[in-house]
Symmetry: C2
């Protein structure tokens, strides 16, 4: 629950994994007692999901039936000021989206991939998503290996028409250690501690001022087990 | 070696997996003693690789440094007739491409995914590649599960602008058993035998006359092990 002066936003979410055949894959219900008209509620929900649920990518496999609902009762009697509700709703969605990823099938690391200084937000998102979908990168994180070569090779698969940048000016840091600096050797990769569950990857494209973050998880033996050992 | 009247095409290929850091990922040398000029050799090689090496996709992770070379000596003294050399070269490339996939990291099944009756060859390729990149589908095949739901949900991720088709007219067969017929229940999935290493998936879009095949492999514990247990 996100609390503001006189009104609140609540939320509940279910399942990144296919919990049972026939049930929806992701089901999210958000509630608020703020006063909202339909247009504001719709726009706020679309904007909030665009940068939260739409930026989670556990295994690149699009879900078949996801639902996000926002219910607004107006019971607080308070109409939030400009952007106030939108920010609170985005915060609630981000908390739920991270919780879904943390609960993903077989995951042992929760990974955020942030691309900074891209030409556009779309470029930043495309680069971050390419890394999030690299099985090689995700298996390396499972093995506690800060393998920046696998990050950079995934970055290089994004067409230059979508994300222009100079490959000679690319910095990569993993959990705060800049392991790749302008494609040369940065700090000692043995300094990177990947034993915590949370992993933070930051990729600086040095091409603009836009940024985006994708949340994903690692590729583990448990993922393979959970998705091969039963029939659905 | 592909033998024709008076001339031959030979080939050798190395490595779908990263055999050792610093070495090229895929290295292919093709040889022929046929008489070819440079234009014909270039065009034949481009056309042959487009439908062979370019249609292998082990884990969706683009290789960083692949090489395919064609060396033509003319020593046979024979100039192959129209299309003769091109067909033989494509056959040689297809054999090598399948051998690379069969040798991929940790694979226990070699999978061909053929999309038929698409509007264009590009549409067929895009649909086949979407299935080839689905970790959920690839883990199911590892588990000997002919999970057509995972195939259909991967097909559904391809934008309609790239591959238009009617979702209500979609047939899927796995190793010759049509498990999904027009999205209804087809033949009994327990009839599908996935114990052989070779797996053949055919997806009929009923939208046109074009077709394409992508070769891939399954997602296994050995893949995760080989890509997490060492640092590169």
């Amino acid at each position: 629950v996100i609390e503001r002066e006189g009104w609140k936003v609540g939320g509940i979410a279910k399942g990144a994994g296919m919990l049972a055949p026939g049930l929806a894959t992701m089901l999210v219900v958000l509630t608020t007692d703020a006063i909202l008209d339909v247009q504001r509620a719709r726009a706020a929900l679309r904007d909030a999901t665009r940068v939260t649920f739409d930026r989670t990518d556990s295994d690149g496999c699009m879900s078949t039936n996801d639902t996000v609902l926002l219910l607004a009762s107006g019971a607080s009697g308070v109409a939030p000021g400009p952007d106030e509700f939108e920010l609170a709703l985005t915060e609630a969605c981000a908390i739920l989206a991270r919780a879904l990823i943390a609960d993903a099938e077989g995951a042992s690391h929760d990974i955020s991939i942030t691309v900074t200084n891209a030409t556009t937000e779309e470029a930043a998102e495309a680069v971050a998503r390419a890394v999030a979908r690299s099985n090689l990168f995700k298996a390396a994180i499972f093995g506690n290996d800060p393998n920046w070569g696998r990050i950079v090779s995934a970055v290089g698969t994004v067409p230059v028409s979508i994300a222009p940048f100079d490959p000679l000016h690319l910095d990569v840091s993993v959990n705060g250690i800049e392991v790749c600096r302008a494609l040369g050797v940065g700090e000692d990769r043995s300094l990177v501690d990947l034993t915590p569950r949370e992993v933070t990857v930051v990729i600086d494209l040095h091409a603009g001022v836009a940024a985006a973050t994708i949340w994903t998880n690692d590729l583990t033996h448990d993922y393979v087990h959970e998705n091969s050992a039963y029939s659905s």
